[in-house]
Amino acid sequence: MVDENMIMLNIAPSSGIPIYKQIIDQVKRMIASGYLLPGDELPSVRNVASRFQVNPMTISKAYSLLEATGYLERQRGKGMLVSDKQGGEKEMDKRINILEPAIKELITQAKQLAIPKDKLKIIIEKYIEEKL
């Protein structure tokens, strides 16, 4: 990823979601969608920090956690690259994992609105057929 693509990051410092987590979620999504490809370079910690005016350690933390979970690789002299070891059969699981918080949120809200499980399943199915 070249630096102008940083625009794709959307950091909201005053959100209740920690900044490092926002970055992790967004980078994961960009990798899952193919917007970021294996071998693509992420902008440097310094450049992200300066561009979005957020603490550099926060960006480092996000990158390190993405490295620890295998999404990124640190390459000497080059910075952070999208790992080429992802893909294959695990690809789908990863994408499902990313969707999980949204699914949980949906279920919570359905509970609050007292919508029965069966009804919820029917609604979701209907939307999948109609909208996609």
Partner: protein, 292 residues
Amino acid sequence: MTTKAISMKSVTKKYGKNSAIDNVDLELDKGTIFGLIGRNGAGKTTLIKCLLGVTKPDEGEITIFGDPAWDLSVATKHRIGYVPQNIVGFSWMKVIDLMEYTGAFYDNWDGKIIDGMIDEWGLDPYAKIGTLSTGERQKVAIIQAMGHDPDLYVLDEPVASLDPSARRAFIKKIIELNADQQKTVLFSTHITSDMERMAAEICFIKNGIIQFRRELGELKESIVKLNIHSPIPLPEDLPIKNIISIERNSKDAIVTIDNYDEGIKSKIERALNATVFVENMNLEDIFMEVIK
């Protein structure tokens, strides 16, 4: 060589019978940006003044770069850039003359940094300090603290009078100084959105006592609001630990807790047969809960 930029141990400062700061412990690693947050009168300025050796604490030990704060060597003093909350004096001086006057105190004064910043921040170098607005005067004070290229910046409400775009320019500058040159920054503010950008770690100070010290991301993950709704009346004692605040009627409760983890939600739901909705809180929300 110490790795600590700042170390305060059991520091107390009293004015009459009242403790302005009470038994404060605070250590800061080199190369970090640390935020001090609290209401007006909470003790932020007293803490900073003790730290800089401007005010003598009644008890405790303070060192800056390993050097005792009350007896700072000239060499250590020259490694500190301080921006006070209230900028007073020198009203007859022109901006450029004030910079020259300040520079005379330092061996390593760099006029180029100053000229660059004056230009970047749109100040008139030939304007008299007395004719400047509060915001412009604050800019002057910040620039004045940069000329000797300090390793530690101590900033007491540095941006309170700046307009939003000047505040963002200031934050960007501090972040670049930290990223490029590993400068250490301690700043106090009550503007939580600035803190959320700048600080890696923060602490709350209330009535002179340090309440929480935590990494900002961790803080937002551990302090959350639980909205609990139950079809039947909730018990008097809720099976919830680490409660910070609670508002309730018979069937609903809004509970702010610390040390949240993902298992807690379902545990409470099972124990109370209730629905729990977890709400993340930003720093301002957390500040309101912690400080009240």
